[in-house]
Homo-oligomer: 223 residues x 2
Protein backbone atom coordinates (compact mmCIF):
# COMPACT_ATOMS: atom_id res chain seq x y z
CA UNK A 1 0.00 0.00 0.00
CA UNK A 2 2.85 2.38 0.73
CA UNK A 3 4.70 1.77 -2.54
CA UNK A 4 5.56 4.88 -4.48
CA UNK A 5 3.50 5.65 -7.54
CA UNK A 6 4.93 5.06 -10.99
CA UNK A 7 6.17 8.56 -11.72
CA UNK A 8 8.46 8.29 -8.70
CA UNK A 9 10.62 5.67 -10.40
CA UNK A 10 12.77 8.29 -12.07
CA UNK A 11 13.84 9.56 -8.68
CA UNK A 12 17.46 9.06 -7.74
CA UNK A 13 17.96 6.23 -5.24
CA UNK A 14 18.89 8.77 -2.59
CA UNK A 15 15.57 10.60 -2.90
CA UNK A 16 13.83 7.26 -2.88
CA UNK A 17 15.60 6.27 0.29
CA UNK A 18 14.77 9.60 1.85
CA UNK A 19 11.11 8.96 1.14
CA UNK A 20 11.38 5.51 2.72
CA UNK A 21 12.99 6.88 5.86
CA UNK A 22 10.29 9.51 6.11
CA UNK A 23 7.61 6.85 5.91
CA UNK A 24 9.50 4.71 8.43
CA UNK A 25 9.46 7.64 10.87
CA UNK A 26 5.71 8.06 10.44
CA UNK A 27 5.09 4.34 10.91
CA UNK A 28 7.34 4.20 13.97
CA UNK A 29 5.59 7.17 15.59
CA UNK A 30 2.20 5.55 14.95
CA UNK A 31 3.41 2.28 16.49
CA UNK A 32 4.87 4.05 19.52
CA UNK A 33 1.72 6.06 20.28
CA UNK A 34 -0.48 2.97 20.29
CA UNK A 35 -0.48 3.03 24.08
CA UNK A 36 0.84 6.48 24.89
CA UNK A 37 -0.08 10.05 24.16
CA UNK A 38 1.69 11.83 21.33
CA UNK A 39 3.02 14.65 23.50
CA UNK A 40 4.75 12.05 25.66
CA UNK A 41 6.62 10.72 22.63
CA UNK A 42 10.17 12.01 22.05
CA UNK A 43 11.97 12.54 18.79
CA UNK A 44 14.75 10.38 20.21
CA UNK A 45 12.42 7.39 20.69
CA UNK A 46 11.17 7.66 17.12
CA UNK A 47 14.63 7.87 15.57
CA UNK A 48 15.87 5.02 17.76
CA UNK A 49 12.96 2.87 16.56
CA UNK A 50 13.90 3.59 12.93
CA UNK A 51 17.62 3.24 13.56
CA UNK A 52 18.84 6.70 12.57
CA UNK A 53 20.60 9.37 14.62
CA UNK A 54 18.29 11.96 16.23
CA UNK A 55 19.61 14.90 14.18
CA UNK A 56 18.73 13.05 10.94
CA UNK A 57 15.07 13.53 11.91
CA UNK A 58 15.22 17.14 10.71
CA UNK A 59 15.89 16.09 7.14
CA UNK A 60 12.29 14.84 7.10
CA UNK A 61 10.29 16.94 9.53
CA UNK A 62 10.83 20.28 11.22
CA UNK A 63 9.48 18.98 14.49
CA UNK A 64 7.51 16.16 16.10
CA UNK A 65 4.51 18.45 15.79
CA UNK A 66 4.89 18.51 12.01
CA UNK A 67 5.16 14.73 11.95
CA UNK A 68 1.94 14.53 13.99
CA UNK A 69 0.12 16.82 11.58
CA UNK A 70 1.20 14.62 8.66
CA UNK A 71 -0.25 11.61 10.51
CA UNK A 72 -3.58 13.44 10.88
CA UNK A 73 -3.52 14.25 7.20
CA UNK A 74 -2.72 10.64 6.21
CA UNK A 75 -5.52 9.31 8.40
CA UNK A 76 -8.19 11.54 6.93
CA UNK A 77 -7.00 11.20 3.35
CA UNK A 78 -7.55 7.44 3.34
CA UNK A 79 -10.83 7.79 5.24
CA UNK A 80 -12.07 10.27 2.66
CA UNK A 81 -11.06 7.92 -0.16
CA UNK A 82 -13.11 5.15 1.44
CA UNK A 83 -16.13 7.41 1.85
CA UNK A 84 -15.93 8.51 -1.76
CA UNK A 85 -15.93 4.88 -2.89
CA UNK A 86 -18.93 4.17 -0.64
CA UNK A 87 -20.79 7.15 -2.10
CA UNK A 88 -20.30 5.92 -5.65
CA UNK A 89 -21.73 2.48 -5.03
CA UNK A 90 -25.50 2.56 -5.40
CA UNK A 91 -27.40 0.26 -3.05
CA UNK A 92 -31.03 -0.04 -1.99
CA UNK A 93 -31.77 2.24 0.96
CA UNK A 94 -32.12 -0.36 3.70
CA UNK A 95 -28.97 -2.21 2.65
CA UNK A 96 -27.07 1.04 2.25
CA UNK A 97 -27.10 1.70 6.00
CA UNK A 98 -26.01 -1.79 6.97
CA UNK A 99 -23.31 -1.94 4.29
CA UNK A 100 -21.99 1.53 5.16
CA UNK A 101 -21.67 0.69 8.84
CA UNK A 102 -19.98 -2.62 8.06
CA UNK A 103 -17.57 -0.97 5.64
CA UNK A 104 -16.73 1.78 8.10
CA UNK A 105 -16.19 -0.56 11.07
CA UNK A 106 -14.08 -2.88 8.92
CA UNK A 107 -12.04 0.11 7.90
CA UNK A 108 -11.50 1.16 11.51
CA UNK A 109 -10.36 -2.36 12.36
CA UNK A 110 -7.96 -2.44 9.42
CA UNK A 111 -6.48 0.96 10.35
CA UNK A 112 -6.62 0.66 14.09
CA UNK A 113 -3.44 2.61 14.96
CA UNK A 114 -4.57 5.60 12.88
CA UNK A 115 -7.95 5.74 14.60
CA UNK A 116 -6.43 5.24 18.01
CA UNK A 117 -4.17 8.18 17.26
CA UNK A 118 -7.07 10.36 16.04
CA UNK A 119 -9.44 9.51 18.89
CA UNK A 120 -6.84 10.18 21.54
CA UNK A 121 -5.15 13.25 20.05
CA UNK A 122 -8.51 14.92 19.53
CA UNK A 123 -8.10 15.65 23.25
CA UNK A 124 -4.32 15.43 23.36
CA UNK A 125 -1.68 17.83 24.59
CA UNK A 126 -0.59 19.27 21.21
CA UNK A 127 -2.90 22.16 20.35
CA UNK A 128 -2.21 22.25 16.61
CA UNK A 129 -2.83 18.51 16.20
CA UNK A 130 -5.98 18.72 18.31
CA UNK A 131 -7.44 21.55 16.26
CA UNK A 132 -6.43 19.92 12.97
CA UNK A 133 -8.33 16.74 13.88
CA UNK A 134 -11.35 18.74 14.96
CA UNK A 135 -11.47 20.80 11.81
CA UNK A 136 -11.16 17.63 9.71
CA UNK A 137 -14.15 16.20 11.58
CA UNK A 138 -16.10 19.43 11.01
CA UNK A 139 -15.25 19.24 7.31
CA UNK A 140 -16.45 15.66 7.29
CA UNK A 141 -19.78 16.69 8.84
CA UNK A 142 -20.17 19.44 6.22
CA UNK A 143 -19.46 17.08 3.34
CA UNK A 144 -22.05 14.65 4.64
CA UNK A 145 -24.57 17.49 4.99
CA UNK A 146 -23.94 18.34 1.34
CA UNK A 147 -24.66 14.71 0.43
CA UNK A 148 -27.92 14.83 2.37
CA UNK A 149 -28.95 18.06 0.66
CA UNK A 150 -29.20 16.07 -2.57
CA UNK A 151 -31.64 13.53 -1.11
CA UNK A 152 -35.23 13.70 -2.38
CA UNK A 153 -36.85 14.77 0.91
CA UNK A 154 -34.23 17.38 1.79
CA UNK A 155 -35.56 20.40 -0.12
CA UNK A 156 -37.34 21.84 2.93
CA UNK A 157 -34.35 21.46 5.23
CA UNK A 158 -32.31 24.47 6.36
CA UNK A 159 -28.52 24.26 6.18
CA UNK A 160 -28.30 24.25 9.93
CA UNK A 161 -30.66 21.30 10.15
CA UNK A 162 -28.71 19.34 7.53
CA UNK A 163 -25.55 19.99 9.56
CA UNK A 164 -27.40 18.97 12.73
CA UNK A 165 -28.45 15.70 11.10
CA UNK A 166 -25.01 14.86 9.78
CA UNK A 167 -23.45 15.85 13.11
CA UNK A 168 -25.70 13.34 14.82
CA UNK A 169 -24.71 10.61 12.37
CA UNK A 170 -20.99 11.37 12.58
CA UNK A 171 -21.33 11.39 16.38
CA UNK A 172 -22.88 7.91 16.29
CA UNK A 173 -20.04 6.69 14.06
CA UNK A 174 -17.44 8.20 16.40
CA UNK A 175 -19.09 6.34 19.31
CA UNK A 176 -18.94 3.13 17.27
CA UNK A 177 -15.27 3.79 16.53
CA UNK A 178 -14.54 4.19 20.24
CA UNK A 179 -16.29 0.91 20.96
CA UNK A 180 -14.41 -0.94 18.24
CA UNK A 181 -11.11 0.37 19.62
CA UNK A 182 -12.07 -0.89 23.08
CA UNK A 183 -12.36 -4.43 21.69
CA UNK A 184 -9.25 -6.59 21.35
CA UNK A 185 -7.62 -6.15 17.89
CA UNK A 186 -9.20 -9.06 16.03
CA UNK A 187 -12.39 -9.36 18.05
CA UNK A 188 -15.79 -9.74 16.44
CA UNK A 189 -17.45 -6.31 16.13
CA UNK A 190 -20.94 -7.60 15.25
CA UNK A 191 -22.56 -6.09 18.36
CA UNK A 192 -21.10 -2.67 17.63
CA UNK A 193 -22.17 -2.89 13.99
CA UNK A 194 -25.71 -3.98 14.84
CA UNK A 195 -26.23 -1.17 17.38
CA UNK A 196 -24.73 1.52 15.12
CA UNK A 197 -26.89 0.34 12.25
CA UNK A 198 -30.00 0.58 14.42
CA UNK A 199 -29.02 4.07 15.52
CA UNK A 200 -28.66 5.23 11.92
CA UNK A 201 -31.94 3.60 10.94
CA UNK A 202 -33.67 5.31 13.89
CA UNK A 203 -32.30 8.70 12.82
CA UNK A 204 -33.39 8.12 9.22
CA UNK A 205 -36.89 7.14 10.43
CA UNK A 206 -37.27 10.59 11.98
CA UNK A 207 -36.30 12.64 8.95
CA UNK A 208 -39.67 12.61 7.11
CA UNK A 209 -41.32 13.91 10.29
CA UNK A 210 -38.90 16.77 10.93
CA UNK A 211 -40.18 20.26 10.28
CA UNK A 212 -37.15 22.29 9.41
CA UNK A 213 -37.35 25.98 10.24
CA UNK A 214 -35.25 28.85 8.91
CA UNK A 215 -31.74 28.77 10.38
CA UNK A 216 -31.03 30.39 13.76
CA UNK A 217 -34.47 31.22 15.14
CA UNK A 218 -32.99 33.74 17.59
CA UNK A 219 -36.41 34.89 18.77
CA UNK A 220 -37.01 31.53 20.45
CA UNK A 221 -34.14 32.15 22.82
CA UNK A 222 -35.85 34.92 24.74
CA UNK A 223 -38.73 32.87 26.13
CA UNK B 1 -19.46 23.45 48.17
CA UNK B 2 -16.49 21.57 49.52
CA UNK B 3 -17.24 22.23 53.22
CA UNK B 4 -17.47 19.16 55.39
CA UNK B 5 -20.90 18.05 56.43
CA UNK B 6 -22.06 18.71 59.97
CA UNK B 7 -21.16 15.34 61.46
CA UNK B 8 -17.53 16.01 60.57
CA UNK B 9 -17.27 18.82 63.12
CA UNK B 10 -16.36 16.42 65.89
CA UNK B 11 -13.22 15.47 64.00
CA UNK B 12 -9.96 16.46 65.57
CA UNK B 13 -8.30 19.45 63.84
CA UNK B 14 -5.58 17.17 62.53
CA UNK B 15 -8.05 14.94 60.72
CA UNK B 16 -9.77 18.01 59.38
CA UNK B 17 -6.52 19.39 58.08
CA UNK B 18 -5.71 16.05 56.49
CA UNK B 19 -9.02 16.15 54.66
CA UNK B 20 -8.24 19.68 53.46
CA UNK B 21 -4.82 18.68 52.16
CA UNK B 22 -6.35 15.72 50.36
CA UNK B 23 -8.86 17.99 48.67
CA UNK B 24 -6.09 20.49 47.84
CA UNK B 25 -4.17 17.69 46.10
CA UNK B 26 -7.24 16.76 44.04
CA UNK B 27 -7.88 20.40 43.10
CA UNK B 28 -4.24 20.97 42.21
CA UNK B 29 -4.14 17.89 39.98
CA UNK B 30 -7.31 19.00 38.21
CA UNK B 31 -5.83 22.47 37.64
CA UNK B 32 -2.56 21.06 36.36
CA UNK B 33 -4.19 18.67 33.86
CA UNK B 34 -6.26 21.46 32.30
CA UNK B 35 -3.83 21.58 29.39
CA UNK B 36 -1.86 18.36 29.79
CA UNK B 37 -2.55 14.69 29.95
CA UNK B 38 -2.78 13.02 33.33
CA UNK B 39 -0.01 10.51 32.64
CA UNK B 40 2.34 13.43 31.97
CA UNK B 41 1.65 14.82 35.44
CA UNK B 42 4.11 13.97 38.20
CA UNK B 43 3.46 13.51 41.91
CA UNK B 44 6.18 16.11 42.48
CA UNK B 45 4.33 18.78 40.49
CA UNK B 46 1.12 18.18 42.41
CA UNK B 47 2.77 18.36 45.83
CA UNK B 48 4.76 21.47 44.81
CA UNK B 49 1.50 23.15 43.78
CA UNK B 50 -0.03 22.37 47.17
CA UNK B 51 3.14 23.26 49.08
CA UNK B 52 3.88 19.93 50.76
CA UNK B 53 6.89 17.61 50.47
CA UNK B 54 6.53 14.81 47.88
CA UNK B 55 6.59 11.99 50.46
CA UNK B 56 3.59 13.56 52.26
CA UNK B 57 1.51 12.65 49.20
CA UNK B 58 1.32 9.04 50.39
CA UNK B 59 -0.60 10.00 53.51
CA UNK B 60 -3.50 10.76 51.16
CA UNK B 61 -3.18 8.54 48.12
CA UNK B 62 -1.26 5.37 47.35
CA UNK B 63 -0.35 6.63 43.89
CA UNK B 64 -1.16 9.24 41.25
CA UNK B 65 -3.33 6.57 39.69
CA UNK B 66 -5.48 6.37 42.84
CA UNK B 67 -5.80 10.17 42.86
CA UNK B 68 -6.95 10.04 39.23
CA UNK B 69 -9.57 7.41 40.02
CA UNK B 70 -10.90 9.60 42.85
CA UNK B 71 -11.21 12.46 40.35
CA UNK B 72 -13.25 10.23 38.02
CA UNK B 73 -15.46 9.26 40.93
CA UNK B 74 -15.98 12.90 42.03
CA UNK B 75 -16.86 13.96 38.48
CA UNK B 76 -19.51 11.33 38.00
CA UNK B 77 -20.97 11.67 41.49
CA UNK B 78 -21.86 15.32 40.98
CA UNK B 79 -23.10 14.63 37.45
CA UNK B 80 -25.37 11.88 38.74
CA UNK B 81 -26.72 14.21 41.43
CA UNK B 82 -27.59 16.77 38.76
CA UNK B 83 -29.33 14.15 36.63
CA UNK B 84 -31.36 12.92 39.58
CA UNK B 85 -32.55 16.47 40.27
CA UNK B 86 -33.46 16.91 36.59
CA UNK B 87 -35.42 13.65 36.66
CA UNK B 88 -37.50 14.76 39.62
CA UNK B 89 -38.65 18.02 38.05
CA UNK B 90 -41.72 17.45 35.91
CA UNK B 91 -41.93 19.59 32.77
CA UNK B 92 -44.05 19.47 29.62
CA UNK B 93 -42.44 17.24 27.00
CA UNK B 94 -41.27 19.91 24.55
CA UNK B 95 -39.80 22.09 27.29
CA UNK B 96 -38.21 19.08 28.96
CA UNK B 97 -35.74 18.59 26.10
CA UNK B 98 -34.74 22.24 25.93
CA UNK B 99 -34.45 22.61 29.67
CA UNK B 100 -32.45 19.37 30.03
CA UNK B 101 -29.94 20.43 27.38
CA UNK B 102 -29.58 23.89 28.90
CA UNK B 103 -29.09 22.44 32.39
CA UNK B 104 -26.55 19.95 31.16
CA UNK B 105 -24.52 22.48 29.14
CA UNK B 106 -24.61 24.96 32.03
CA UNK B 107 -23.33 22.19 34.25
CA UNK B 108 -20.47 21.40 31.87
CA UNK B 109 -19.51 25.08 31.79
CA UNK B 110 -19.58 25.32 35.58
CA UNK B 111 -17.44 22.18 35.98
CA UNK B 112 -15.18 22.64 32.99
CA UNK B 113 -11.97 21.17 34.48
CA UNK B 114 -13.76 17.97 35.48
CA UNK B 115 -15.19 17.47 32.00
CA UNK B 116 -11.91 18.34 30.34
CA UNK B 117 -10.31 15.67 32.49
CA UNK B 118 -13.00 13.08 31.68
CA UNK B 119 -13.08 13.74 27.93
CA UNK B 120 -9.31 13.54 27.61
CA UNK B 121 -8.59 10.67 29.99
CA UNK B 122 -11.24 8.55 28.32
CA UNK B 123 -8.44 8.06 25.76
CA UNK B 124 -5.55 8.78 28.08
CA UNK B 125 -2.46 6.80 28.94
CA UNK B 126 -3.58 5.35 32.30
CA UNK B 127 -5.52 2.15 31.60
CA UNK B 128 -7.37 1.97 34.94
CA UNK B 129 -8.61 5.57 34.67
CA UNK B 130 -9.61 5.04 31.05
CA UNK B 131 -11.64 1.95 31.82
CA UNK B 132 -13.21 3.55 34.91
CA UNK B 133 -14.48 6.49 32.83
CA UNK B 134 -15.81 4.17 30.17
CA UNK B 135 -17.65 1.96 32.61
CA UNK B 136 -19.18 5.04 34.27
CA UNK B 137 -20.43 6.14 30.85
CA UNK B 138 -21.85 2.69 30.19
CA UNK B 139 -23.60 2.80 33.56
CA UNK B 140 -24.99 6.19 32.65
CA UNK B 141 -26.37 4.80 29.37
CA UNK B 142 -27.99 1.91 31.26
CA UNK B 143 -29.61 4.20 33.80
CA UNK B 144 -31.04 6.33 31.03
CA UNK B 145 -32.35 3.21 29.28
CA UNK B 146 -34.13 2.28 32.52
CA UNK B 147 -35.72 5.73 32.58
CA UNK B 148 -36.92 5.26 29.01
CA UNK B 149 -38.38 1.87 29.83
CA UNK B 150 -40.93 3.67 32.04
CA UNK B 151 -42.14 5.93 29.24
CA UNK B 152 -45.66 5.24 27.91
CA UNK B 153 -44.60 4.12 24.40
CA UNK B 154 -41.73 1.92 25.54
CA UNK B 155 -43.56 -1.35 26.29
CA UNK B 156 -42.77 -2.85 22.87
CA UNK B 157 -39.08 -1.99 23.03
CA UNK B 158 -36.42 -4.65 23.63
CA UNK B 159 -33.69 -3.95 26.17
CA UNK B 160 -31.12 -3.72 23.43
CA UNK B 161 -33.16 -1.11 21.61
CA UNK B 162 -33.62 0.95 24.77
CA UNK B 163 -29.85 0.84 25.25
CA UNK B 164 -29.33 1.74 21.61
CA UNK B 165 -31.61 4.77 22.03
CA UNK B 166 -29.97 6.00 25.21
CA UNK B 167 -26.52 5.38 23.70
CA UNK B 168 -27.46 7.63 20.81
CA UNK B 169 -28.64 10.36 23.19
CA UNK B 170 -25.59 10.10 25.45
CA UNK B 171 -23.42 10.23 22.32
CA UNK B 172 -25.11 13.46 21.24
CA UNK B 173 -24.55 14.93 24.70
CA UNK B 174 -20.89 13.89 24.63
CA UNK B 175 -20.51 15.67 21.28
CA UNK B 176 -22.13 18.76 22.78
CA UNK B 177 -19.74 18.54 25.73
CA UNK B 178 -16.77 18.42 23.38
CA UNK B 179 -18.06 21.48 21.54
CA UNK B 180 -18.62 23.43 24.76
CA UNK B 181 -15.08 22.62 25.88
CA UNK B 182 -13.74 23.91 22.54
CA UNK B 183 -15.30 27.31 23.26
CA UNK B 184 -13.46 29.85 25.40
CA UNK B 185 -14.42 29.45 29.12
CA UNK B 186 -17.16 32.04 29.42
CA UNK B 187 -18.34 32.02 25.80
CA UNK B 188 -21.98 31.87 24.83
CA UNK B 189 -22.98 28.25 24.18
CA UNK B 190 -26.35 29.02 22.54
CA UNK B 191 -25.39 27.46 19.21
CA UNK B 192 -24.29 24.22 20.85
CA UNK B 193 -27.47 24.13 22.95
CA UNK B 194 -29.74 24.78 19.97
CA UNK B 195 -28.15 22.06 17.82
CA UNK B 196 -28.10 19.49 20.65
CA UNK B 197 -31.74 20.24 21.41
CA UNK B 198 -32.66 19.69 17.76
CA UNK B 199 -30.74 16.41 17.72
CA UNK B 200 -32.63 15.15 20.76
CA UNK B 201 -35.94 16.27 19.33
CA UNK B 202 -35.13 14.50 16.05
CA UNK B 203 -34.35 11.27 17.90
CA UNK B 204 -37.56 11.53 19.94
CA UNK B 205 -39.55 12.09 16.73
CA UNK B 206 -38.39 8.71 15.46
CA UNK B 207 -39.32 6.67 18.51
CA UNK B 208 -43.06 6.16 17.76
CA UNK B 209 -42.08 4.80 14.32
CA UNK B 210 -39.47 2.33 15.54
CA UNK B 211 -40.39 -1.32 15.35
CA UNK B 212 -38.41 -2.99 18.06
CA UNK B 213 -37.51 -6.60 17.48
CA UNK B 214 -36.40 -9.23 19.99
CA UNK B 215 -32.83 -8.61 21.14
CA UNK B 216 -29.88 -9.98 19.13
CA UNK B 217 -31.42 -11.17 15.90
CA UNK B 218 -28.40 -13.34 15.12
CA UNK B 219 -30.03 -14.89 12.07
CA UNK B 220 -29.81 -11.57 10.22
CA UNK B 221 -26.03 -11.75 10.28
CA UNK B 222 -25.75 -14.51 7.76
CA UNK B 223 -27.31 -12.66 4.82
Amino acid sequence: MRRHSRHREELAPRAEQKQQTRQALLDAALRLVADNSFDGLSLREVTREVGIVPTAFYRHFQSMEELGLVLVDESFRTLRRMMRAAREGALPHEQLVKRSVETFVGYVQAHRPYFQFLMRERFGGVASIRSQIRSEIRLFVSELATDFARFPGADGWSNEDLQMLSGLIVGAMISATEQVLELPPRADADDVIRIAEKQLRLIILATPHWKSQPSRPQAEDAS
